[in-house]
């Protein structure tokens, strides 16, 4: 059964150490105790995995209240991690019996533990150390020889395994089985010989391998990239948001002497629970890359010449006025909302151009008009919880595990834990196929034909009431009449039987959530594919359901933010048309400038204009089109042809080679701001390091230019930029920094 959203739990009354407490029925006792800040020591239990009761560390004494008020005590202690709360449960967590039991459990664990804490990365933040400190024996009685097993055995380029330290809690094994789903770790042998390992000691290739390092309660699984680089007590920890994809995982960034040494997950039940993917955890190190830009530079022939910021600004502004409005800007997907907002404000208000975009995919149409207006919902309708509440998740043209790792994990969990069905349509093997009921493996480019085929079948399968509600069934029937199952089989390679079965499942699912990915954005007829997906959503009535709907998944980290912040040629922030007079007036009076009235060019239009000389100054802010654009040669030719190219970026990128002026920007770790993830959850990140060299946060550069160009006072800090956004962009009305807090809020 899918997990319904917004249900009131049934409360029961229990008593812990004499304190009465109301908790949801069935909540595990170990969780309930946290409500009272009572510490129950654990090893194998993990909040986001099924309890197994393997380690016996969490023992408590329990009893039940009898109708006459007396308490009947159970003869033996119970594992609190497997005990659901029921009415009248009475619990003691600090009895003499328990003190002895815990000591005994720890004594057993320590018999085989090497106690090499001084050279263990876990030392100082180790549950085994902590539990021993508070609950363990103070001296050891064990004088025999300890077992010896391989140490620092490399399982992959990220993870090392020290078998001597393992306490056989099974967390890592359960993680690969329950959460990441690849089941790459298993316990080999049994009893005292039991050890977690990969098959035949082959490489641990999971894309989520780093999580096992964090959940191992001892130093058995450690990070090879962090190994011996710091001790927990000389680390400075900062809260942040992952900048690698639009899933918005909450992270902790740990630094030593101003250098990031590792990344850990930060719990956010609404987003990543407590997981990360390996890309976010291990591959996010560009802030310390050797090719960081640290100084504004201007091109002198083949050479770069460092200049001062003030000269750079002056040069840029003089080139802008020379260009006389023939200016365009493309922003990258790692810019914060604050930076994106200031970027379009600068270009529109000070440079008087609407040639602004962020899209590097083939699809550059008017998403707002195409989707939101029709469905009454934005192009991403759902949130993580909906993945568990819906009955069917349809992954369409997306390599989900690669593009949206955390959404993949949650979809998989929804399937495993709540029986949510998954379906996948992909031209190549796809990780979702592992648990999908139907897999529609179509020939590349067959997206449109496939949806039309599904629509054709659905018109037969859907109940008459649904079709009546849809109203345009007859029109649609005529439109897709040629897309019969056999015709679709010919066009896509998906067998007619599979297609019919898939359509039947869609028709029978009370709700469906579509996750559309890269194959849609880069389809040659992307607009038509989007249109077809909209029709599919409307036909099945899923735009009306909270837990259903269409999600055109952003691909870049803050692509959603760029859409919301109006880094689009046609829309001001909040998806309001630049042609609309009232909207314009609102922004004009807020910014104190007049704004251009005609729609600008989209990315490809900008390139063409660069080639034809209609755009003479191109401002790339954090964008690297020479690599990231779907047609890199077009981007490269455009950059070559443009009179004056400004590149503002963190690194010396491929596109920066074509620049005339280079402005060094800070990465997210050196500035403050917010990212908006795919579910339109706005989340804050905090400054962890000082800006390197002379680099500045992107939004500061735009604010400086705003001041120099117009003589108007810009916002003073990122918090103030967000305040301005909350005033002018209705969905962000509740997104002031104070309201966002640690866990963010959805901009709806």
């Amino acid at each position: 059964m899918p997990k319904p959203k917004n249900v009131e739990p049934n409360l029961v009354t229990i008593e812990i150490n004499g304190i009465p407490l109301q908790v949801p029925e069935g909540e595990l006792l170990v969780e309930a105790a946290k409500r009272l800040d009572i510490d129950i020591p654990i090893f194998c239990y993990h909040k986001y995995m099924k309890p197994v009761g393997m380690c016996r560390m969490c023992l408590v004494e329990v009893g039940t209240k009898m109708p006459d008020g007396t308490v009947r005590k159970m003869p033996k202690p119970q594992a609190s991690c497997t005990l659901p709360c029921t009415e009248g449960l009475v619990v003691w967590t600090e009895t003499e019996q328990l003190v002895k039991d815990r000591r005994a459990v720890l004594e057993f664990l320590l018999i085989n533990h090497p106690l090499d804490c001084p050279i263990c990365d876990r030392g100082g933040e180790c549950p085994l150390q902590n539990n021993t400190q508070f609950y363990g024996p103070s001296t050891s009685r064990y004088i025999e020889i300890k077992r010896h097993l391989p140490k620092a055995f490399p399982l992959s380029k990220y993870v090392a395994l020290d078998l001597e330290r393992c306490i056989q809690c099974g967390r890592c094994v359960r993680f690969t089985e329950e959460v990441s789903g690849d089941a790459q770790l298993a316990f080999l042998f049994r009893g005292a010989q039991m050890q977690p390992h990969t098959f035949q000691l082959t490489e641990f290739t999971s894309r989520f391998s780093g999580n096992v390092i964090e959940i191992c309660p001892v130093g058995a699984l450690t990070s090879r990239t962090y190994r011996f680089r710091a001790r927990p007590w000389d680390i400075v920890t900062q809260k942040t948001i992952c900048s690698m994809c639009p899933n918005g995982c909450n992270l902790y960034l740990d630094s030593r002497s101003g250098k990031m040494v590792r990344i850990n997950a930060r719990e956010n039940p609404a987003v990543n629970e407590t997981w990360t993917c390996d890309k976010g955890k291990f591959e996010q190190s560009y802030m310390h890359a050797p090719n960081r830009l640290t100084q504004p530079m201007v091109r002198r022939g083949k050479e770069w010449e460092p200049i001062r910021w003030s000269d750079a600004y002056e040069l840029l502004l003089s080139k802008v006025s020379e260009a006389q409005g023939a200016v365009a800007g493309i922003a990258g997907h790692r810019l914060s909302n604050e930076a994106l907002y200031m970027f379009q404000k600068l270009l529109r208000g000070a440079f008087q151009t609407n040639h602004i975009d962020h899209r590097l995919t083939r699809y550059q149409g008017d998403l707002q008009a195409q989707v939101s207006a029709k469905l009454g919902k934005p192009a991403t309708a759902n949130e993580y919880r909906d993945l568990e509440a819906t009955s069917l998740v349809f992954v369409f043209g997306s390599d989900l595990v690669e593009e949206q790792p955390m959404v993949f994990l949650r979809t998989r969990k929804a399937h495993r834990q709540y029986g949510v069905n998954a379906m996948v349509a992909s031209p190549v093997p796809n990780a979702v196929e592992e648990f999908a009921t139907h897999s529609l493996r179509y020939q590349p480019g067959g997206e449109l034909a496939l949806i039309r085929g599904l629509l054709n079948c659905l018109l037969d399968f859907l109940p008459a009431e649904r079709l009546a509600e849809y109203r345009e069934a007859e029109w649609l029937r005529a439109l897709v009449a040629d897309a019969t199952p056999t015709a679709t089989q010919d066009a896509t390679g998906v067998s007619a039987d599979t297609l019919l079965a898939a359509a039947r499942q869609i028709a029978e699912s009370p709700s469906m959530l579509i996750l559309a990915g890269e194959k849609v954005w880069n389809h040659p007829n992307a607009s038509e594919v989007v249109e077809a997906l909209v029709t599919l959503t409307q036909l099945t009535g899923n735009h009306l359901r909270e837990e259903g709907g269409l999600n055109l998944m952003p691909l870049g980290t803050n692509e959603q933010g760029a859409r919301d912040m109006g880094v689009l040629p046609s829309h001001l922030p909040g998806y309001r048309s630049v042609a609309d007079e009232d909207t314009r007036t609102a922004f004009e009076s807020a910014w104190g400038v007049s704004l251009p009235t005609t729609e600008g060019l989209s990315t490809d239009g900008i390139y063409q204009a660069c080639l034809s000389g209609e755009v003479r100054l191109l401002y790339l802010a954090g964008a690297n089109p020479v690599v990231d654009h779907y047609d890199p040669t077009l981007a490269e030719r455009a950059l070559r042809a443009t009179d004056f190219v400004v590149v503002q970026d963190v690194l010396m990128t491929e596109s920066a080679q074509y620049a005339d002026l280079l402005l060094p920007a800070c990465p997210f770790t050196e500035s403050e701001g917010t990212y908006t993830n795919w579910e339109r959850r706005v989340q804050r990140f905090w400054r962890a390091h000082e800006p390197l060299g002379e680099s500045k946060p992107d939004w500061v550069i735009f604010a400086d230019l705003w001041l120099k160009a117009l003589g108007k006072v810009p916002p003073f800090n990122a918090r103030e930029v967000m305040q301005e956004i909350t005033r002018l962009v209705p969905p962000y009305a509740n997104c002031t920094y104070d309201q966002l807090g640690d866990q963010g809020a959805r901009a709806l």
Binding site: A152, F187, L188, T198, F199
Partner: protein, 204 residues
């Protein structure tokens, strides 16, 4: 992050197309029949491993484990975990005869260890080892549920009871003459036990 320590890298787990599938037609049929007994493929793991033990000549090689995982659509590691959990699945090559000597309480009191030592001497091997000619493997087991006739030894699916060193010598002589691979035979017996009569390939 720089400073990644490069210790020897691990080999990659095999891709499905790289597997060395060896199940005979008969084995595939048996497995198919077995799968109909259970709600999901995972449940057929133990009998499937017996099939593999038979097909791979008495012990489960890495290939055998991978093949079972492939055929049941489970992860390699999971199948290996199960295979290494149970002692009756052999993880190393064994002889034609697996001499399993009981040394649990009753047998111990009645001379189980004497039998074991005698065998070690006669065969010149230690526990867990196999004679160079690939005839015998020596193993120690727990109670065989035949305490009344202790000391007991199991070879394949036959029990030898009330053993004395002399009886053991005679038995070894006897066994040397046979040419049956009792380990493979036992594995086959296990498989057939799981199948209904009409499901056995020879009856189809």
């Amino acid at each position: 992050m720089d400073g990644v320590i490069r210790i020897t890298e691990r080999p990659r787990p095999p891709r499905p197309e790289e597997l060395n599938l060896r199940f005979s037609e008969k084995a595939v049929k048996e497995l198919e029949a077995l799968l109909t007994h259970y709600p999901d493929k995972k449940s057929a793991l133990l009998p499937a491993l017996w099939i593999a033990q038979r097909e791979y000549g008495g012990h489960l090689t890495a290939d055998a484990i991978a093949e079972v995982a492939y055929r049941l659509q489970r992860s390699y590691a999971e199948v290996e975990g199960v295979a290494t959990f149970y002692t009756m699945y052999n993880k190393v090559p064994v002889g034609k005869y697996m001499l399993e000597v009981c040394t649990n309480l009753t047998c111990m009191l009645c001379g189980g260890y004497r039998i074991l030592e005698h065998l070690q001497q006669r065969l010149g091997i230690q526990l867990g080892e196999t004679t160079p000619d690939g005839m015998f493997t020596l193993a120690e087991v727990e109670c065989l549920n035949n305490c009344g006739d202790a000391p007991v030894m199991q070879v394949g699916d036959v029990y030898y009871r009330r053993l004395t060193p002399e009886k053991v010598d005679a038995l070894l002589e006897e066994l040397r003459k046979g040419d049956e691979h009792t380990v493979v035979k036992l594995a086959d017996a296990e498989v057939q036990m799981h199948l209904a009569e009409w499901e056995r390939p020879e009856n189809q």
